[in-house]
């Protein structure tokens, strides 16, 4: 090993140790744990079994929860795209000092503690909250319907905190766009709507897709928001794993749920990434 290579290894050593210590080791232990047995009298049984996975994959109770997690994450991603992409475009066209102040407004949700923010949503979404009352007054519901412990409520609260990630991601790809392309389209006779749909949106697509990955994986693994808004009645994968660990004390089953959630998210993200790379590598410089 020459001096330069040795120096390189020395430089990456601290970060590697940290990664191995706090990410890789617990992950490996969780994986091992998920193959252990469990009984209500003995606790964890140190055998090697796939019983936990078999239980999760065969029980419709678990299937429903995983499907719900997927459904919530997909809705949150879709709504974040619909709100975030135009928001980023509007921000880009704003002039100073408006732009700086509105960027602060956009990333605002990230600056508020998750508990304070989510309890705030609980106040707004609850039976006597502002939103059900407003919907009732507008005649959209016959009586105030609480959105607490519903998927809609969870989706609303998650969109609120995850939209900034979409805005920032789309913003980054719009910053790479040559503003003259909009003018070129205009000079060729395109209306403002056509310019947005056919010139701006396709160029923002890599940002929308990578923002989608971030939003989707954060929504699928979110814990605090579904725990407070969804509560006991509306479980998602992460709160289910939490309950198995701390209420039932069935650690191996909880570990298996966590592993399946991780594998599912990684599979979706990797597939998604492949798609983006294949679709856009010819068109945009990487």
């Amino acid at each position: 090993m020459n001096a330069q290579a040795r120096q390189g290894w020395l430089l990456v050593a601290p970060a590697t140790l940290l990664f191995v210590g706090i990410v890789a080791t617990p992950l490996a232990m969780t994986l091992l744990l998920s193959f252990n047995g469990w009984s209500s009298t003995q606790g964890i049984v140190p055998t090697l079994t796939v019983q936990n996975y078999a239980e999760i994959l065969s029980d419709s109770f678990f299937a429903e929860i995983f499907l719900r997690t997927l459904r919530i994450a997909l809705w949150v991603t879709l709504i974040c795209v619909l709100i975030g992409a135009p928001e980023a475009y509007i921000l880009r066209r704003m002039r100073e000092p408006w732009r700086s102040s509105f960027i602060l407004v956009v990333i605002g949700p990230l600056l508020v503690s998750v508990v304070a923010r989510t309890l705030g949503w609980a106040l707004l979404l609850g039976g006597n909250g502002l939103i059900p009352l407003a919907l009732h007054r507008l005649g959209l519901t016959s009586s105030p319907v609480s959105l607490m412990f519903t998927e809609t409520g969870v989706v609303i609260a998650l969109v609120h905190v995850l939209v900034p990630f979409m805005v920032l991601s789309v913003w980054a790809s719009l910053a790479r766009m040559d503003p003259a392309t909009e003018r070129a389209a205009q000079s060729l006779g395109a209306s403002q709507i056509t310019i947005f749909l056919r010139i701006v949106l396709p160029q923002a697509m890599p940002g929308i897709l990578s923002g989608g990955i971030i939003v989707f994986s954060l929504a699928a693994s979110a814990f605090a928001t579904p725990a407070i808004i969804g509560g006991r009645r509306l479980k998602v994968a992460s709160t289910l794993a939490y309950d198995e660990f701390l209420n039932t004390l069935n650690w191996p089953l909880g570990a298996a749920i966590a592993v399946l959630l991780l594998v599912g998210i990684v599979a979706i993200v990797v597939g998604w990434n492949r798609f983006i790379e294949r679709r856009y590598s010819q068109v945009f410089a990487s």
Binding site: D178, A180, A184, L188
Partner: protein, 342 residues
């Protein structure tokens, strides 16, 4: 009435005036260049014609129709941008077809006209490529095809060759001129490159600090600069202050040409010659630099430093350190009278 008429145009951004009192008429089929240093208002003028910038004052008319109320997308002008502004997510053919689609031209006709346009710029077989896969020169041609395929009333070129290397630029200049002649499209070019303006234009509009300095054919503007700014901006020039004597205008006591009043003489370096008989400005050669097809000499004279360009035609030239006598023909020089600021 000219085809494109700009009347008394003024554009101010707050207290800063970008363009002032601009009058310009462009005839149909003409190739005209707006030439000047950066910040002279040439790009602002182009953007006012295109409709991206609204004039503070004045009128722009195309073929007798007032353009000022027309949005950029309704003007029907072809624009080639400095960055080319190709749509990176579309193939070359789709880029060229875009303007025709906006005009709701039929599919078969679009295909045919796109093919024609790409053939015209020599890219007939490159329609399926993406802009990123092409060289700067090729992207430039796509941008030109995209602008011309809609058969624009006017073609606007915004520093179109500035991102190319010297060799490509020269090739593109010839090609651009040829394509423009072929299609007969009225063209307005914005450039800071004097050589480009001289090579391409029917007429040049020299601009400085928001004002028009001179409008004329390339030959006229170069040979008979209307102001000291034009003389120094277009090509190189030597200037001498001259005093009247009974025998004519003299530089540092040496009579150079006829004249009765104190003046500044401008003379192009290629019009200065070495003389062996009699009158002239004595000097000493400081440096002699070989530049391929010509020699560049710096000659120190009592009237100041003088630049001399001589063709590399085999005739003997004075070496560095030798003393020489400089002379020029009076009709090659231009005079501006002292006291009258150009």
């Amino acid at each position: 009435m000219p085809y494109l008429a700009l009347e008394n145009i003024r554009k101010a951004y707050g207290p800063a005036v970008a363009v002032d009192r601009l009058d310009l008429g462009v005839e149909k089929g003409e190739f005209i260049s707006l030439l000047g240093p950066s910040g002279c208002g040439k790009t602002t003028t182009l953007q006012m014609i295109a409709g991206f910038v609204e004039p503070t004052q004045g009128a722009i008319a195309l073929d007798g129709i007032d353009l000022s109320r027309l949005a950029p997308e309704k003007r029907g002008l072809g624009i080639v941008f400095q960055s080319y502004a190709l749509f990176p997510h579309m193939t070359v053919a789709a880029n060229v077809a875009f303007g025709l689609e906006m005009r709701r031209v039929g599919k078969a006709e679009i295909r045919q006209r796109v093919e024609q346009a790409l053939a015209m710029v020599g890219l007939a077989d490159k329609g399926g490529r993406y802009p990123r896969q092409m060289s700067g020169g090729q992207q430039q041609r796509v941008a030109l095809a995209r602008a011309l395929v809609i058969r624009p009333a006017i073609l606007l070129l915004d520093e179109p060759l500035s991102n190319l290397d010297a060799k490509q630029r020269e090739e593109m200049q010839l090609e651009l001129r040829q394509i423009q002649r072929q299609s007969g499209t009225t063209t307005v070019l914005v450039t800071h490159d004097q050589q480009e303006a001289l090579a391409l234009s029917d007429r040049i509009v020299v601009m400085n600090q928001g004002r028009v300095e001179q409008i004329g054919s390339p030959f006229d503007v170069y040979e008979r600069p209307g102001s000291a700014f034009v003389a120094t901006f277009l090509g190189r020039t030597n200037t001498f202050s001259a005093e009247p004597t009974p025998r004519g205008l003299a530089v540092a006591g040496h009579v150079m040409m006829p004249g009765e009043r104190p003046a500044t003489i401008s003379i192009r370096p290629e019009k200065v010659d070495f003389t062996t008989d009699g009158d002239g400005l004595p000097g000493r050669v400081l440096t002699r630099v070989f530049q391929g097809n010509h020699w560049l000499l710096h000659v120190e004279t009592p009237g100041g430093l003088c630049l001399v360009i001589r063709p590399n035609d085999g005739r003997p030239l004075p070496g560095e350190g030798e003393t020489v006598v400089l002379a020029f023909r009076a009709r090659d020089a231009s005079l501006s009278l002292a006291g009258s600021t150009p």
